[in-house]
């Protein structure tokens, strides 16, 4: 199979080809999705080198165990983002990463006192439609999701950071996600 034909394959078909050890299929998946997952890893880790390591691990995982992806359960990009996010959060919570972040945060602009604040400056914004969906969130929901998803904090830690009860944080995350889904559905980005 020439390389051109891989461009035409669906994501699910590419994963089948990866299962047959077709390196070009993995490369096509990389072309399509690496930027999305690298962007996420960078935002969570605040560290390009660590983000690069995570991306490599995600693609090697896909190469070794392509059968873990079930096309009936969701899109390949969502699956890769889940792998990326989990791995990034594991690193955030590990000793070494914590030390590195503290060092990094110590050298940051004195006006910023934590990596979380830096991330907030970037915000949840990716595109105009996403921007609108996010702007519809009450501040409490947005903050909770921001700290949990991009900060890599557990909901208990988020509760501590925000000075809110754990139950409140849990439900804000859940209702924030539902609210964003509603907003994104209205613009046609997801099904309702």
């Amino acid at each position: 199979m020439g390389q051109k034909s891989f461009h035409r394959l669906s994501d699910a078909a590419l994963v089948v080809a990866v299962g047959r050890f077709r390196e070009e299929a993995l490369e096509e998946i990389y072309r399509r999705h690496a930027a999305a997952i690298f962007g996420l890893a960078r935002r969570v880790l605040l560290d390009e080198t660590l983000a690069e390591e995570v991306i490599q691990e995600v693609f090697l995982t896909l190469w070794r165990d392509p059968e873990r992806f079930d096309p009936d359960r969701g899109a390949l990009r969502s699956y890769l983002l889940v792998l990326t996010h989990r791995r990034s959060v594991d690193l955030v919570r590990s000793e070494d990463a914590r030390r590195r972040r503290e060092e990094r945060e110590a050298t940051m602009d004195p006006g910023r006192d934590s990596g979380d604040v830096e991330r907030e400056a970037e915000g949840l914004i990716a595109s105009e439609r996403v921007k609108e969906a996010v702007s519809e969130l009450p501040a409490g929901e947005r903050e909770a999701i921001e700290l949990a998803y991009f900060g890599g904090h557990t909901y208990r830690e988020v509760a501590g950071l925000l000075g809110e009860p754990e139950g409140t944080v849990k439900s804000r995350i859940r209702s924030g996600l539902k609210r964003m889904r509603g907003a994104l559905a209205r613009t046609g980005m997801v099904e309702a």
Binding site: L26, F38, E67, H85
Partner: protein, 237 residues
């Protein structure tokens, strides 16, 4: 420490964002194996998270080169594409057994042959796992049967409780109905899987103390407890 369904529901948003502690995570994942409603919610949250995952940024060029170099290390070159999925590395016995398993699947209830072959091509992970389970020497084959023995559903069960439904001659239902598989723990039915209106190869899990399996017909999406007598059953004892 076991969480109630409501408590688990409340955690689904945090879980979808990887924002729960490990003990909670294990509880939730155990629950998700048998709760399609919660699985759907998690999947929906993840879709939203994927969309707000931030601006894309292409990685530096050397990242792909490094991946490629590591692929070379684990490479197994195949001259042509196999019909059956590759076996797990280091398992020659399994490779031979998988070939045998394909023959078993083909021989039983022959009208399923064409569909099975088509499904192999889709790279379905469940089919590959079911094939592996069939070949597993510790796997246990069971047949759920109706009282008059006219209906049958073939199942393989592994010692850790994972199982796969594969061959069956259950009548396809209308889209608003579904078959549902139950694990009987004593008299208590615990939902093991929602099988759909025309069951294909399906993975499920049963817990300790399961004495029997049963299939009922329910409304689409599945229910918390069976609403009618089973269509087919099999005893594990």
């Amino acid at each position: 420490m076991s969480l109630e369904h409501e408590e688990i529901e409340g955690l689904l948003g945090a879980y979808a964002l990887d924002a729960v502690d490990d003990p909670d995570r294990h509880e939730i994942e155990r629950h998700l194996e048998s709760c399609p409603v919660c699985r759907t919610e998690v999947s929906r949250h993840r879709e939203v998270a994927a969309l707000v995952s931030g601006p894309e940024q292409p990685p530096p060029d050397h990242v792909w080169e490094r991946i490629r170099a590591r692929l070379e290390d684990s490479r197994e070159v195949l001259a042509s594409a196999p019909v059956v999925r590759r076996p797990r590395p280091g398992s020659q016995r399994l490779a031979a057994a998988l070939a045998a398993a394909a023959l078993v699947a083909v021989g039983f209830l022959g009208w399923r042959v064409v569909e099975l072959e088509g499904r192999i091509e889709r790279g379905g992970s469940v089919l590959a796992a079911a094939e592996a389970a069939l070949a597993d020497p510790d796997g246990r084959r069971l047949v759920l049967r109706s009282d008059d023995a006219a209906l049958a559903a073939d199942v393989v069960l592994l010692p850790d409780g994972t199982g796969y439904l594969f061959q069956n001659n259950l009548e396809p239902l209308s889209a608003d109905r579904t078959y549902q598989l139950w694990a009987m723990v004593g008299e208590r039915p615990i939902s093991a899987a929602v099988l759909g209106s025309d069951p294909e190869v399906t993975a499920f899990r049963v817990g300790e103390g399961t004495g029997a399996l049963a299939i009922t017909e329910e409304r689409a999406g599945g229910v918390q407890a069976p609403t009618s007598d089973p269509i087919a059953t099999a005893s594990l004892s």
